[in-house]
Symmetry: C2
Subunit: 376 residues, 2 copies
């Protein structure tokens, strides 16, 4: 067989203002390029323990079982569902966008019996509906909801929603892929039992890792399962042997060493900045972007009180061709913004201000480019 | 919550001669540190297509569905099983080491009915036993085996084993995590229907990606499933929309962009060297290592005809403390070799000569260090 003649890949230099990945600081890229060591090397174990501490800070939790899953956010999501849903469990699933729908898929494939609570795309989850669903289904074992809907930019009141589940003795699973590091995610204060995020959003690392955290109640449920977890790779009973750090570290799979260097560095940077400062920065840049977008006549799809600062969804102006406009932004400005997903495809743009992308230069550059492309 | 005060991680510089990860060339690390772009960027799509071509070359196949799974080798393994095993399917599982045992776990968790064919750890799979298993179970739908057992260093006759499955109209799943790029892996010539590998072995990339390939017969089986694939993330029906490249690329999950730059570079380097030359290099360095190990009185556990050149398992000499010796190699020589796994823990060492680690300097350095540590 002839060897293909293909040159090294030289990616273009983009400004990333979509729904993730966000701009990755050179410091994080440099960390990823350090020498590879083994996944059972004592030096690597030390780094794993540091990463767990740093993630606890990001999640604002004391949960011992807090670590990065060796896969993208979708694997973190599936890890939560295959471990916490047992066949036959009734699960209340809140859907207000694409990722709530993906949760529903996970519930079904894990053998759960879903009870769907629907809200309009672009709106927060309505806590009153969640309360009504629990009243009608008092045996529900789990509640699942998306804190920050990446498909719309809506933020839900996690504390209120989670309290309802607690009141009914149910566990909660929360998607905080787009919120972690960008707006408050308070796992312990909110009483969340399982949460998953992604490395490539407000943590500004490269994609491919999914930070997760589990409460003691969640771990007890996993340990008490009557049926084995359907996934070997995601079975927390096995993963724990590698990530728990209690006594001897047992080989489970080969961890993605260099990407984990990158995540460690991203979390060190978050700790250096201070998470409250990171939240404030995302808020401030959102305000600046919002003012500019409104000047351009671009309307937000999410009501102000329910808006995520780090993900700004606006209606595509009448007469503007979605694909052509985004292609111009990419080709002429090296600027990536996000398209609409699912039912919102072709109707909205999603402008991300996540992690290192949440800075004034990006805001101004994006507004300038948008003005040219929509002809304002 | 107080921000943890943790410094950037500076890994030690090791010589990696365990069962993977292997030494990662600076060229690959540099590729990983290039600017992150979006997972739907047209420039990234071009790179994905190149990666698929390069992987076809590595696997020596024309299979259209050849791509890197966004997770470690264990996820590539599970992807094969959850897609190809349907509940109730009889599956013949060959076990001659740890990774055959992991296949058995995957068969069970996918709802398959396993028929186990066992061979001693350190020996190849016995084709006669496979033929007997098919004769006794003519309705078996699948055969699964490990081409290169990473836990022992034994290599099996994939062509002969796979031909038996074909003869009975069964599909074959092959683990080639440790063989791809190091010894011939001839997917089409051998008639293998599904195979998975890892990025961190003879491809010498960082860990975290799992190249897979599927024949048209395998795809037909996945498409004809009566039951949904239990995993959302690994469901090939969905993954295909992102990796197939037929028409519009559909978002499925956010691909690990920068690690994929690294894998692309590793595969470009393999194509530049020529895969036959890479095989010959692994063979030549194995011969050099073998001569040295024998001089030191270290005995191979695998009979010569069944030995993998890139993974050399030797019995730990009497009187030598396993953990202490490996700790000395790591601390005094910055040299990692592999411990025994499972039943072989404490009894053997596994010395890897994979990818960039398969070079004369490494062989000589390892022999010198071993001689000191075992007191020869």
């Amino acid at each position: 067989m002839q060897a293909p003649r293909i040159a090294s890949f030289q990616p273009p230099r983009r400004t990333l203002m979509g729904p993730g990945p966000s701009d990755v600081p050179q410091r994080i890229l440099d960390a990823m390029a350090r020498p590879t060591i083994g996944h059972l090397d004592p030096a690597f174990s030390d780094m794993m323990e540091q990463t767990k501490s740093l993630l606890r800070y990001a999640f604002q939790t004391e949960n011992k079982l807090t670590f990065p899953v060796s896969g993208p956010g979708s694997v973190g999501m599936e890890t939560c569902f295959v471990n916490l849903v047992e066949p036959g469990d009734q699960v209340i699933v809140c859907i207000n966008g694409v990722f709530g729908g993906r949760m529903l898929e996970n519930v079904k494939r894990s053998g759960g019996v879903p009870v769907v609570v629907e809200d309009a795309w672009g709106r927060a989850v309505d806590a009153a509906k969640v309360a009504a669903a629990f009243a009608a289904n008092p045996d529900a074992k789990l509640l699942t909801f998306v804190h920050a809907e990446t498909s719309t930019g809506a933020q839900s009141d996690a504390a209120a929603i989670s309290a309802i589940a607690r009141g009914h003795g149910a566990l909660s699973i929360m998607d905080c892929v787009t919120s972690l590091g960008g707006t408050p995610v308070l796992i312990d204060a909110w009483g969340i039992d399982a949460a998953y995020s992604g490395s490539q959003k407000c943590l500004s690392c490269t994609p491919g890792l999914s930070p997760v955290t589990f409460s003691e109640r969640a771990i007890a449920k996993v340990k008490a399962r009557a049926t084995p977890v359907q996934s070997w790779f995601m079975d927390l009973n096995l993963v724990l042997g590698y990530w728990s750090g209690e006594g001897k570290r047992t080989y489970h799979h080969t961890a993605p060493i260099n990407p984990l260097y990158g995540l460690h560095e991203a979390l060190v940077m978050l700790a250096e900045e201070g998470i409250e400062n990171a939240w404030a920065r995302h808020r401030a840049e959102h305000e600046a972007l919002k003012a500019g977008l409104e000047k351009l006549g671009l309307a937000f799809i999410v009501p102000e009180a329910e808006r995520l600062p780090q993900l700004n969804s606006v209606t595509i102006p009448a007469g503007v061709d979605d694909a052509a406009a985004r292609a111009r932004l990419l080709n002429e400005f090296n600027l990536e913004i996000g398209a609409g997903l699912g039912a919102l495809a072709g109707k909205i743009w999603r402008i991300g201000l996540m992690g290192a992308s949440a800075r004034r230069e990006n805001v101004e550059y994006c507004l300038k480019a948008l003005a040219e492309v929509i002809g304002k």
